[in-house]
Every structure is written in structure tokens, then in C-alpha cells.
């Protein structure tokens, strides 16, 4: 079953080769390292993970961190919602794309997905599963925004909603949030997740 290739979005891509590079990299090692503090970065750089997510990055001191990741042949993503000092808007994304050269951004906001597309960086949109009553409207918003990748949080909810998500969104899925044990990772991947994202260094191969 070739789930990882069949879920590739069918519409024309604005992004350069990064998206196919990302999908191919996750095909080899399906883990993104989530960096919450700068001191965790060396370990991610030395690991086999092909992708690094910066969660609380300092916007104006981010360049060297991103470039260190890319110098190792890895892709660097920045969570724009949590970044201090940067506007959560098109200009903020333009800064990350052009000045820093990030491969992609992570956001919960549909409006920023279009901005990422305009700046030709990969858009990872977070699907925040805190309330089952909010799920239908969250899926509609994602279906409308059409990010390149969906990051579903927390991992413990993913198995409960995977069928509903897949029937609505033909998009690759990363599972994150409290993915701290090998069993959590395996549960997500067995249910068709493209990859997991985790700050638990023991899960970085």
C-alpha cells in the first residue's frame, strides 16, 4: 500500500522542489525534530532526522540556526504563530522566506497558508484537536486553505479521527503533540501518517 505517495496533493504547486524533497525525505526517515530551545539543535543536526521544526525561534537571530540545518542537507521549518518579534502576516512570511530562506512555515491560521504559497514556501497547517465539537469546522477551514501538509495535534487523538480527516482532506499528515514513546510513533505511522514531529530526542533516529 503506497499511502505515502497517493496522498500527495494533486493541484499545481507553487513551491519549488522542496515539497517533493520533503516527501521523499520523510519516506526514508519519517521524523521531524521539534526544537524548543537552541541547545537541542546540535543533537538534531547530528541525528538522521531530515526535517527540523523551530517552535519558539527568535525571529531576528534565526538565520544561523536555519542555515546550520540546511548545511546538513535537512529542511528547516519555522512555527510562525509562536515566533517573537515577527508579524503574523504576509510581510512576516516574506522575511522568513527571502531573508532567512526557510523551507516552510507552520501555522494554525488559514490566512497564512495563502501567504506562504505566495512566497513559495511549504505551508504546514496545524489541525488542533482539543474539542470534537470543533472538528467539522476545523476540517472545513483546512479543506478551504489547502496547505501542503497537515500537522495533527495531539497525537493521542489522531487514531480517533484519522478516518474522518482522510475522508475530508487528501493531504499528507504529520502527527505531533505528546508523541513521546515509540508506541505513539508506531501508532501514527501505522495509521498512514507521513511522519511524526517530536521534541523527544530519544525518538530522533
Amino acid at each position: 500500500m503506497a499511502t505515502r505517495t497517493t496522498v500527495t496533493p494533486g493541484r499545481p504547486r507553487a513551491v519549488d522542489g522542496s515539497l517533493s524533497r520533503l516527501l521523499e525525505a520523510f519516506g526514508r526517515v519519517p521524523v521531524a525534530a521539534v526544537i524548543r530551545r537552541g541547545e537541542e539543535l546540535p543533537r538534531a543536526l547530528a541525528s538522521q532526522v531530515p526535517v527540523v521544526f523551530f517552535l519558539r525561534a527568535p525571529a531576528f537571530h534565526l538565520g544561523p540556526l536555519v542555515w546550520a540545518v540546511q548545511a546538513r542537507g535537512k529542511l528547516a521549518f519555522v512555527h510562525i504563530d509562536l515566533i517573537a518579534g515577527l508579524g503574523k502576516d504576509r510581510a512576516g512570511i516574506a522575511f522568513l522566506a527571502r531573508e532567512i530562506g526557510v523551507n516552510g512555515i507552520i501555522t494554525s491560521h488559514s490566512g497564512l497558508v495563502a501567504a506562504a504559497r505566495a512566497e513559495k514556501v511549504i505551508a504546514v497547517q496545524r489541525l488542533l484537536l482539543y474539542d470534537d465539537l470543533a472538528l467539522p469546522s476545523a476540517l472545513s477551514a483546512l479543506d478551504h486553505a489547502r496547505p501542503d501538509i497537515v500537522e495533527v495535534l495531539p497525537g493521542v487523538i489522531f487514531p480517533l479521527v484519522v478516518n474522518e480527516i482522510r475522508s475530508r482532506l487528501p493531504l499528507p499528515i504529520i502527527v505531533g503533540g505528546f508523541v513521546t514513546e515509540p508506541a505513539h510513533r508506531d501508532a501514527a505511522l501505522q495509521r498512514g501518517a507521513l511522519a511524526i514531529s517530536t521534541s523527544t530526542t530519544e525518538l530522533w533516529p
Binding site: D131, D132, L133, A134, P154, I157, S199
Partner: protein, 192 residues
Amino acid sequence: MRTPGVLGVMLPAVRDGASLNQALDLGYRQVLLERGSLLALVGPLAGAARRGIAIFVNLDAVEGLAPDSAALAFLATDLGFSGVLSVKPHLLKDASRFRLRTIQRIHALDSTGLETGLHSLVSPAPYAIAIAPGVAIPQVMPIIRSITNTPIWGTGFISSAEQAGAVLHAGAALVSSARLEVWRDFSRTPVS
């Protein structure tokens, strides 16, 4: 506070008069308006509050109410509701001035977000902390208890009695579900 507090471990999450009546028919004396609008609030829920039912309102999800003092005064003084839930610390601080019980909502989506939420606990201490999704509580209770001993409520994605039981077993004081089947299962257990 003269308004009624919570009894027992199940808080039915209702959205309108029909679901309110289903919960009351099962014998519940407490409900949470988790989704819904101001009209449900001034109609059937206000009537229930007058009959001594404890009403809690999720201020982050109910439409038609502004997140301000005028709304809180209305809920507390005019309607006699028991408490409010919100992620917003300033709103909860304000609510406590109106003698509403305050339940601080914290999202358990990833460790960074959970820890940020737990480090922004309001003062005075909330009546309870509502963790969403509640289903994550068995996994995150050690993190929560390393920071606070405030009673924990579980809300969100609790769709079976087994899940509700697991959340309570992990140390939650109360669970809230929007599912009639779960209300039914729990209405048979004696209320303390």
C-alpha cells in the same frame, strides 16, 4: 457563592434546550453550555438556573456574548449561573469579582503549549482547570501535577464511558461529554 457547584463526576455538555432537557431527564443537576448561542442561554438555561440547576458556560465558544464585564455581570447577577470557562486569564480574573466560579481552559496539544498554559494560572486560583482534549489527561497528568494541585476537568473527545473512566482514573475530578450515551452510562452511577 450561593449558586450550586458541581456534584459527581459527569458534567453533560449541552448546546440548546433539547439537549438540556435530555440531561435533566437523566437526573443531572448540572450542565455545561459548551457550544451554542446567547438565545439558548437566556431561554432554557436561564429557566434551569432558576430551578437550581448549576450552569457553566464556555465563554470561548458561546456566540453572542462579548468577553467583557457586562456579559459576566449578566451571567452572574441576572441569570444566576454557577461558573464560566475560558482560556483568557483576564476574563477569569474579572469573573471571580462577580463571584462566578472560574474554570481555566488549557489546551493539551503539545508539551510547549501545555506548560505555557499551566504557567499562566490565574490568581485567585481557579475553581478547576479544564484540560482539552480530555482524552489526553492520562498522558499529561504527571506534567500537570508537577505544577498544580488544582482540580482537573476533562473536556473534548470524551465519546465513550470507557474514555471517561480512563480520564477519571488518571486523576481528573470531573469529565464533560456531549454524548447522550455517556450521560446515560454515568447517570446510573450514584452521585455523592
